[in-house]
Subunit: 204 residues, 2 copies
């Protein structure tokens, strides 16, 4: 697609860096912005600027927040004795949307991935260990992705955390997704879901 | 979806104004921008800012351009005696992509639409008439959308242009799209495609 303006081309290239956005969609976005009023464009770009410059991360759990403590950490109704360790704030949102969890979180900001150059020092692991030491929670739930990188991170965290007395370390259940047919499940998942089978009367 | 940050919420609302973007996609974009480096974000927002502030429109055809004249108008190989009238710059790009047209364009910037409050004075119609008067082209092709608003605009332009001697006024062919089944075509299109049937040996 040839554009008659370098400026338009540069805007399209910039918008095409957004996840899942190709050149065609980026062009649609760019033309929309071009045809928007000055006020509309100002509030659009201010909102993004503010997000990037003024957003805070919770000093306790590293969740996104406008204050020193995020709304979850500062909510007295949340159970501070359970810490759910997640990769990113997207997972906090996903778990919050289930409305099944009343504890607190700890956002690592990624998982250990030597290929991507992400090591232990790049993640919020030291602050997790320190938090477990000072807060002495009852349980830490490892809710990292079920990938090789997630498993590596789980393994490392488990090694660091098992030294704490009376700390229960759990991980989210892996198995057949609800609504899925067994015949289409991959064999690793199916195998694990048999190994870790649960008593039928515990099924809720 | 509840977000723990007002700033994030505002950025999501801003991104959700882009065409075809819902809250979920906007959140994905916002988190991507939040996690981008300062340099990446700076070049992203600069590209949009430049587009909005510095872009020009061609003084002859109103196509988007970085110069006084757009690359099409300033190209001596283009046939200046044919003017294709289109609604927006998207249509210029679409027609350019066909590589079937070697004339010039005139971008109206919309079509007459009383419901949306778009009248004759809001469009680049006066400059089209003036251009026809001074350039005396051989042909004006009306390539507006085949909607009621497009037809209204076609009708108005035809009324204004038919006064010029020796000016051929044409419109793009309407009919069954290539690859379409007749049984799924709407009856207006099918009816017109029969009325305006063409000799088989003219089909290319």
């Amino acid at each position: 697609m040839e554009l008659s303006s370098i400026l338009l081309e540069q805007a399209v290239d910039a918008l095409a860096t957004l996840p899942g956005v190709g050149k065609r969609t980026a062009l649609r976005y760019a033309l929309h912005l071009l045809h928007s009023t000055d006020d509309e464009f100002r509030s659009f770009s201010h909102a993004l600027q503010h997000l990037k410059e003024d957003v805070h991360f919770c000093s306790r759990c590293h969740n996104i927040s406008d204050q020193e403590l995020c709304p979850i950490c500062s909510n007295p109704k949340r159970d501070g004795t359970t810490i759910c360790v997640v990769e990113n704030i997207q997972e906090v949102m996903a778990i919050e949307n289930t409305q099944q969890y009343k504890g607190t979180y700890h956002v690592l900001g990624g998982v250990i991935s030597p290929i991507d150059g992400i090591g232990i020092a790049d993640l919020n692991i030291a602050s997790l260990i320190e938090r477990v030491r000072s807060e002495q929670p009852r349980e830490v739930i490892l809710a990292l992705p079920t990938t090789m990188e997630g498993d590596t991170t789980n393994f490392y965290l488990h090694k660091q955390l098992k030294a704490f007395d009376n700390l229960l370390i759990t991980t989210i259940a892996r198995g057949i997704a609800i609504g899925d047919n067994l015949e289409y499940a991959d064999e690793v998942t199916l195998g694990r879901s048999l190994t870790h089978r649960i008593p039928f009367d515990q099924l809720s």
